[in-house]
């Protein structure tokens, strides 16, 4: 399962994509955030960190499944 990163999050993680094996993969959006924040403490310095599931903003309790397109959305700054 792949997670996509953009902007400053991509810079912190050092890659635009991470592969997770099924075993270590968290069950929910909240679980994924906990895992990423532990692994990459610099993400904690961002004013927000959203997760998108299948191109839509996800809520914390949403469950993740193998076929989801998952993306980490740091604070947006378009316009």
């Amino acid at each position: 399962m792949k997670i996509h990163f953009f902007g400053i999050a991509k810079e912190i993680v050092g890659s635009s994509e991470l592969d997770y094996s099924a075993l270590e993969f968290p069950k929910t959006v909240a679980g994924l955030k906990v895992q990423l924040l532990e692994q990459y403490p610099k993400l904690q310095e961002l004013s927000s960190l959203a997760v998108a599931l299948n191109k839509k903003y996800a809520t914390e309790e949403m469950e993740l499944s193998q076929n989801d397109e998952i993306a980490i959305i740091p604070p947006v700054s378009g316009g």
């Binding site: 998108a52 993306a71 700054s77 378009g78 316009g79």
Partner: protein, 138 residues
Amino acid sequence: MDINIKIVDQIDCTRVYEDLSHPGSGGVCVFIGSVRNTTANETVNELFFEAYEAMAISEMEVIAKEATAQWGLNKVIMHHAIGTKKIEEPVVLVGASSAHRTACFEACRFLIDTLKERVPIWKKEFFDNKKVWVTPHP
């Protein structure tokens, strides 16, 4: 409902009237965002924009539909550029046309304000001796 949404390499400001004019519209309102040469008194040389393209398009569609429903618009346009952009280059173009001007003025403001809040696009500023991803303060 007529919605025109794109992520592009370069914004074309010359076609916007054609894109928004409509027989039922008595007003067209457009906002164009461009690259400014300073941020907090520091000289900016250029900007770089990155997008999560598929999601950016679908979020802009949601915003355009919300605006159309709220203000009864005839046409909506939302274009955003990606890649390196020099000073004075346009980077975002949003606009609306409607029967009367109040609706398109208000809708245009909503389109750009909501795009900046919600659409997954990121801006990096290049200064003389540093480059930083812009992270708006909460």
